[in-house]
Subunit: 197 residues, 2 copies
């Protein structure tokens, strides 16, 4: 089976950067925004719409979802996006070894690839520092932005997978990027990936 | 501050073995059963009693605990053990760098030492294999032994620390020992310990 690294991450923990670095060092592709574009293509949804709602659909629109889906006669927009994302994740997994950041790829590929599943987190303070540095200031307090994003990710993940987000036992490896730094996290993931038979 | 590695672990995950190996390779002491003896000395409790109840006191005896403690006039046996363990953990932490397995050392020392906090887990299947191999057969099914032990550890930890056991964000590093093997886990912990400034 194809060796694939999946990275789940708290917002602001640098998980995406770590994924990209690992992929670069291993000489394999990293899917993230590329994947979103792929989904947009397949589903016919506007790129922007998916960027805004793709990951948070279930949580932000559960009422709309319920109303939309009526008596189960048709899929909600959110389910269409989920299915399109699911298909895209499976499609890229067939192309060969890669890194996939987010998108519930660990769950979607659990029986379909030889996975190294990683969860990246960091303290609130470290993540506050990082999001201001990476995404700039915003009207909202950094702590609130972090709390909201994390809650949405956890809720989205739970909704579609029925698995708790961020429980250590659900990942092969969990790392505090604030404690160890990006480079050390990259080194460990790479070493574990390469040691797989 | 003293550099100390704390290891929390699911029952049967090999966490204690990993702790002992790491300590051996780093040339520092590992505290586990030694610590229990220390506690027994300090508290005047029989060695055997602590071995049986030390880690699970809160969960197995909450009613006895309530009755025992009456109107708060005296400490329950469980609180006496907890306090004796707490004192012992702090005492050994002052002796210099070491590995401490279990005993809520991550919580007890969180402001008192320069910690590398580790959580070791493995799949049910891998742990079933391991406990039969290490502890031998028993009348109880391996799966039930694992479930009971884990529940007690989680409950004990939660009772005294008010923190959820096994949440990735509460540890610097979490590893699936069933996936990577004991030796690779030892290597990673050692590497992270040595890379700390």
């Amino acid at each position: 089976m194809t060796k694939i690294i999946t990275i789940s991450r708290q917002f602001g923990s640098g998980g995406r950067t770590i994924g990209k670095e690992v992929a670069k060092e291993l000489g394999i592709p990293c899917y993230d925004s590329e994947l979103i574009e792929k989904v947009a293509e397949d589903s016919g949804f506007a790129h922007e719409y998916i960027r805004e709602h793709g990951e948070y659909a279930a949580q932000t629109h559960w009422l709309g979802r319920a109303l939309n889906s009526g008596a189960g006669l048709r899929e909600s927009n959110q389910d269409i996006i989920w299915n399109a994302q699911r298909k895209a994740v499976i499609e890229v997994s067939k192309k060969g070894p890669c890194v996939i950041v987010g998108r519930c790829a660990d769950y979607i590929l659990r029986h379909k690839a030889d996975l190294l599943t990683v969860f990246i987190h960091a303290s609130l303070e470290k993540r506050e520092e990082r999001i201001v540095q990476v995404y700039g200031e915003s009207d909202e307090m950094p702590a609130k932005r972090l709390r909201d994003k994390d809650k949405r990710r956890a809720s989205y993940y739970k909704f579609y997978t029925d698995i708790e987000w961020g429980l250590a036992k659900n990942y092969d490896l969990c790392l505090d990027s604030g404690k160890f730094g990006i480079d050390k996290c990259v080194e460990i993931i790479k070493s574990l990936y390469e040691s797989k038979e």
